[in-house]
Amino acid sequence: MERLTFDLATTSLRELNTFLHTDAKAGKVEAVTVVNPDGAHNIAVGLDCPINVEVIGHAGYYAGGMNKSATITITGSAGTGVGENMMSGTVHVKGFASNGAGASAQGGLLVIEGDAGLRCGISLKGGNIVVGGSVGSFSAFMAQAGTMVICGDAGDALGDSLYEAVLYVKGSVKSLGADAQFEPMTDADIATVAGLLDKAGLDHDPKAFKRIASQRSLYHWNADANQEY
């Protein structure tokens, strides 16, 4: 068996996820198609094998959450927390994504072809996120490690309280958050952006991006500074 189709209009979500955790992990199929997702929450969460999952339509909250190794594609839009805490693999959203996309992802690649809502890449811990459109306010809040490439604009307080994550924005940034700063693009930055755009299948000039990283002024308590905590 190569590809199996699950129709969420007639099959329960629990059945789908259990199959993906057991039979799919045991290598019984190479690919799974999910039809009629109808915005269901928690589609294909906690996968732990290099399977291909295609969701035809819109997904609800936490689609592809905590993914390890799998390649998950959503042809429509995704709800809050798509690809949250991903460890590895790919989650690719063809449409738009809601709030908290890629939250605390530790690895892997999250691609959102459209716009993403508030707090995209919040608490990012090593994953890579490429957004074809714009991101909402408070994106990359407290992001610790990893990379975000934003091809459109960013809302307010981008990169507030950033640690070591690096952000690249092509469009305008409404405002930077506390401790975030623009930095010059180096050749290495351009190569990073080019590589991620290539993986995401998006066509933009990597030289047109600006780099944002932490000033690291909030890393230590400092009695003489005006605290911005």
Binding site: H41, T80, N85, M87, N99, Y219, W221, A223
Partner: protein, 453 residues
């Protein structure tokens, strides 16, 4: 001979109530540093607590059980609502969530070993699960915290239950912190942070914002674990009646309520002392909420924050808790605030090391410094040798055994064959404050302040 009366210079010793020496000290400190104070442990102020309640032992109208030998069940089931594999414990006394990072790896191992011997559970804490901890603890509760430091689906699958932490009694509404001294290379790696920075944990979860979202988040955790593992929700005690109701609506199997006496390894003092309500008031509100929803016996309640003795455990259970969780008491059992530590077969004085951090045995709340003189709340390679897993596990096992003996002997005196049969009717309050908060009659009366009329 003419004598003159002797005149002594009159030195005023009238201390101000509002500006007592503690307050003067606080203001001087603030003026010197421009930063709020951060410290460890829980609220130090005097609060109504379980000591303000007493049991009505059996007498003419009740029939007691023989104190030592007669059967008294302590078995405790947690997570029976939705989980396929509920947590089954031999005693209703669990170890509260404390992180590797705040505690040394040796301490985490000691907790796991003692808990496993006693048939109870330990809980991970902020910063992820260590292999030592998973290996030593038979029943391990894995916390899902706002920071998500080291949060990993493999550990979710390895855990016996998941605890979604909304807040902590020491600091409801506030995130944790771990000062640079404790962000060692290993801790930094586990948390994906640069070494040595003063780390601030988030106060809100990154991927959900309210109870309706939490319901979906809990469903995600259930889907990932194929509905096997119980999901706990932990709240710091504030608006406990409503918070517990919302946690039940969100689909929790077990609610953990942590009162303001609950400890922390590092938090602003103004949080520790001024945010949250006492455990006594929180237990009553939590039980009221479960009764209101007809969820008694379906959703279990774990109470923490200032549980120190077997009598405290018995009182919490009688008020309606299914189990308790202990943090600070456990640390004290391991030697926290002791004058000595035991190393290489001998006792050594820790006095000089207390002095060096500006503390003294019995008064120390300096967990945040990472320089714990008795080797508990530290990541220092030399200090952590002061508590070996062997010695720690032995003391903790003894402490838990003592609590359990006290609990069962009290239950027997109240005529109960099962500690979970202890009931509110077995308790009265000694102070009006405790009576009002706990919703129990003042001893010798049928008066519950705030109820009736």
């Amino acid at each position: 001979m003419e004598t003159k009366p002797v005149h002594f210079k009159n030195v005023s010793r009238e201390e101000s109530f509002g500006y007592d020496r503690k307050t003067l000290d606080y203001i001087r400190n603030a003026a010197a540093h421009g930063l709020y104070e951060i410290r460890g442990m829980g609220a130090k102020r005097k609060l109504p607590n379980f000591d303000d309640l007493v049991f009505l032992g059996a007498s003419m109208s009740r029939y007691p059980l023989e104190g030592y030998r007669e059967k008294c069940v302590t078995k405790t089931l947690l997570g029976t609502r939705f989980a396929k594999k509920p947590i089954e414990l031999d005693i209703p006394i669990t170890i509260a969530g404390m992180s590797f990072g705040s505690l040394s790896a040796n301490v985490k191992e000691a907790l796991g070993r003692a808990a496993t011997e006693m048939g109870t559970s330990t809980t991970t804490g902020d910063g992820g699960m260590t292999p030592e901890e998973r290996q030593s603890s038979k029943t391990l509760i894995y916390q899902c915290l706002p920071s998500r430091y080291g949060f990993n689906p493999d550990d979710v699958r390895r855990a016996d239950a998941i605890e979604v932490v909304i807040g902590q009694g020491a600091k409801p509404g506030g995130g944790g912190m771990l000062l640079g001294q404790k962000v060692s290379p290993r801790v930094a790696r586990m948390r994906t942070l640069p070494e040595g920075i003063d780390q601030r944990s988030a106060c809100r979860h990154p991927d959900w914002t309210g109870p309706d979202d939490l319901a979906i988040k809990i469903q995600e955790l259930r889907e990932i674990t194929d509905w096997e593992k119980p999901i706990y929700v932990k709240v710091g005690a504030t608006r406990t009646f409503h918070d517990v109701k919302l946690a039940v609506h969100s689909g929790a199997d077990v609610i953990v309520v942590d009162g303001m006496q609950g400890g922390t390894a590092a938090t602003q003092t103004c949080f520790i002392e001024h945010i949250g309500i006492p455990t006594l008031a929180a237990v009553r509100q939590a039980v009221n909420a479960l009764e209101d929803l007809d969820m008694i016996g379906k959703v279990q309640l774990v109470v923490s924050g200032g549980i120190r003795t077997g009598a405290d455990v018995a009182k919490a259970l009688a008020m309606g808790a299914d189990a308790v969780a202990i943090g600070q008491g456990v640390l004290v059992a391991l030697g926290c605030n002791g004058e000595t530590y035991y190393q290489n077969g001998a006792l050594h004085s820790a006095e000089a090391d207390y002095t060096a951090i500006g503390a003294a045995a019995g008064f120390c709340h300096h967990c945040h410094t990472g320089k714990c003189p008795v080797g508990i709340t530290t990541q220092d390679a030399i200090l952590e040798q002061r508590l070996s897993p062997d010695v720690g596990a032995k003391h903790l096992r003894n402490y838990l055994k003592t609590l359990n003996m006290e609990l069962t002997t009290i239950a027997r005196a109240c005529g109960k064959q099962n500690v979970h049969h202890l009931e509110r009717e077995d308790l009265v309050a000694l102070t009006i404050e405790a009576a009002a908060m706990a919703g129990l009659p003042l001893a010798g009366t049928n008066w519950i302040p705030g109820q009736g009329f």
